[in-house]
Symmetry: C3
Subunit: 267 residues, 3 copies
């Protein structure tokens, strides 16, 4: 990834402090708000259906997260999503747990039919399920699928007409014309809740200030994976996942273009 692109993304993010509206789950909503602040965005987490459209119209990007989806929430998400489409701000969709229950898959497809999303970020089974695949998923964790992640990402980007970000041991980011892989990360990122959700917030923060959503997606995804790697590296022997979570947020807030360029391993 071109050094200048990432420099510009960080510079503009700090300058513009984009407003990132979230309609998200109540498990990691605090983490998402703080991650947005940490990278330089301004989070709004309003969820009332009566103001869903108005709030999206104030925002520079919209994050939709299915973690604790229900029918009422979906209605607000569609209203907000359509307002975002009208304003032409990017919608970042995090299909948490899709594939785990028939309800989730059905509602995710309903959302994707009603709203044009710019970027979808999920784990492999979530993305697989959006394409109609039957993965052995267990709750919100990635299950086993039988095709390479790059192929899955390429298929998904064509079929779903969105940039696809698949978080995993190696993260894959695909657009119709390009594909990138991020080699950073640490297993501890799967041992605390919210790292996926926060990644969507980071991606949204970058996507809010550019039209180049492919590179925004790489910037946000790699920020999380690199921050996780750095948090782990600074963890002392007697510290556990409580401290890891705090150091992860520290690393996100300390991230800048230089640290990113020095640390991120893309192929």
């Amino acid at each position: 990834m071109d050094k200048q692109i990432i420099e510009q993304l960080f510079t503009q993010l700090k300058e513009k402090t984009p407003l990132i509206h979230h309609i998200t789950n109540n498990v990691t909503i605090n983490d998402c708000a703080n991650a947005t602040l940490a990278i330089g965005g301004s989070p709004v987490m309003a969820s009332g259906i009566a103001e869903a459209g108005d709030m999206a119209r104030l925002a520079d990007a919209l994050v939709i997260n299915f973690g604790t989806i229900n029918n009422q929430m979906l209605d607000a998400m569609i209203i907000a999503g359509q307002a975002a489409n009208q304003k032409e701000i990017p919608v970042i969709f995090d299909p948490v747990g899709v594939g785990a229950t028939a309800y989730r898959t059905e509602k995710a497809l309903e959302f994707l039919k009603a709203v044009n999303v710019a970027i979808i970020r999920g784990n492999s089974t979530e993305v697989y399920s959006l394409l109609g695949g039957q993965a052995h998923t267990r709750g919100v964790d990635a299950g086993e699928i039988d095709i390479p992640l790059e192929d899955l990402a390429r298929n998904a980007t064509k079929s779903l007409k969105a940039i696809i970000v698949i978080s995993g041991k190696v993260d894959v980011i695909a657009s119709e014309s390009s594909i990138a892989q991020v080699g950073n990360g640490d297993i501890l990122l799967t041992r605390v809740t919210g790292t996926g959700c926060m990644t969507a917030s980071l991606i949204a923060s970058f996507a809010a200030i550019t039209n180049d959503w492919f590179h925004a997606a790489i910037a946000g995804m790699a920020t999380m994976s690199l921050a996780g790697e750095k948090a782990k590296a600074s963890l002392k022997e007697d510290e556990g996942i409580g401290t890891f979570r705090i150091k992860l947020m520290d690393e996100i807030s300390k991230m800048n273009d230089q640290a990113w360029i020095k640390g991120v391993r893309i192929k």
Copy 2:
């Protein structure tokens, strides 16, 4: 502020462990519960409409926070607020994001019409919007307004018949007869979510054990600003906003009358 007043407030708070009922947003609800515990109160965060009145009647103060307001929540807030009025316990109102959407402003005014509030705590644009002003607000952050904060606070306290607390670089606390300014704080308090919400919990904890709500408001507001200053001062170079949040809670839990008197700068 008289030394004896603050000594008495801290002493009585520790002795009485007042019950602080909250109906609040799901972003910072955990922070508010922990801040209440940290200062010496006992938090209750029940939100079901069927018990809203009963729970308020058990409490010593009620915090109403509009962060993730919706119609159902407003109904519960009004029931709880009216029960609090009947029991003559103070209602602390945090009009989060009011001014950002027409819905929020309208519902806030509806709430203020139905319930007598003792103390309103907000940022400048939120308070300005309650008075009918059109501020350039962006989501939940303070926007630009064109009158001095002291004048805004004085106008608001008269018009809204409540103690007014405006959080900012300098915090302003106004009653009909008095005004105070707190010079403590740190920019990092705006870089993590929940510091405003937690301030309302701290104010409520003090207001629950006295009839002198003006000084309770100063005590709570200054506790947050001083804790933020201290948390920042103890932050090491390689630490970020994750650690700042933890140290902020540490400082709240370590606060006492002596530290308060020594550290707080009031004019």
Copy 3:
């Protein structure tokens, strides 16, 4: 408690990574998800009524927590609980705040009538209230009751047909045939929110991988009390409850059979 039992519980928990479904309050939901991960389980926190049954059928244990109970939530809890009963996975019930309002007590009894629960974890007044006792409860904290905890636990286990866990200065765990007391803990566990809720998640994680729910309950309860003791012991003089919470999570994530056997004091 037999050394072999606890060794086996930890070994099987790490091997099986059981799926722990929660329908819980929005105050400590993040803490519960992270505590489940920390001990080696996999949390799911879906709350939508439309998938409540399906999600419970995917799970290995179900945690039901009444912290922010409302009528809609209760419906989802009953559907999930009945699905769990059909699948014969354990239901762990945390009757938060029962006794504080008539609504809570009534709804708790309604839940217990509709669903067979394996384990009930509460403080003394919550358990007392489930038996029809009138305790002087204040919100979610334990009030005063007039019978010894062991008798309360024995009565409750017979009457409610469930393993009973009463958290307190000494924790009491009772089945119809056995009773155990855990002498670990620290007062700081009552100064942060969520330690009770997280205990239910820990108990559920152990109960998910054995039919010996009595020992699973001891394992989970004692893990929390010992972790609290260790977190307190490692707290420096200038640290407060913010850091305590983080160290508590660290200690849960570092817990294993050897540390448990060495540290836990059972009689």
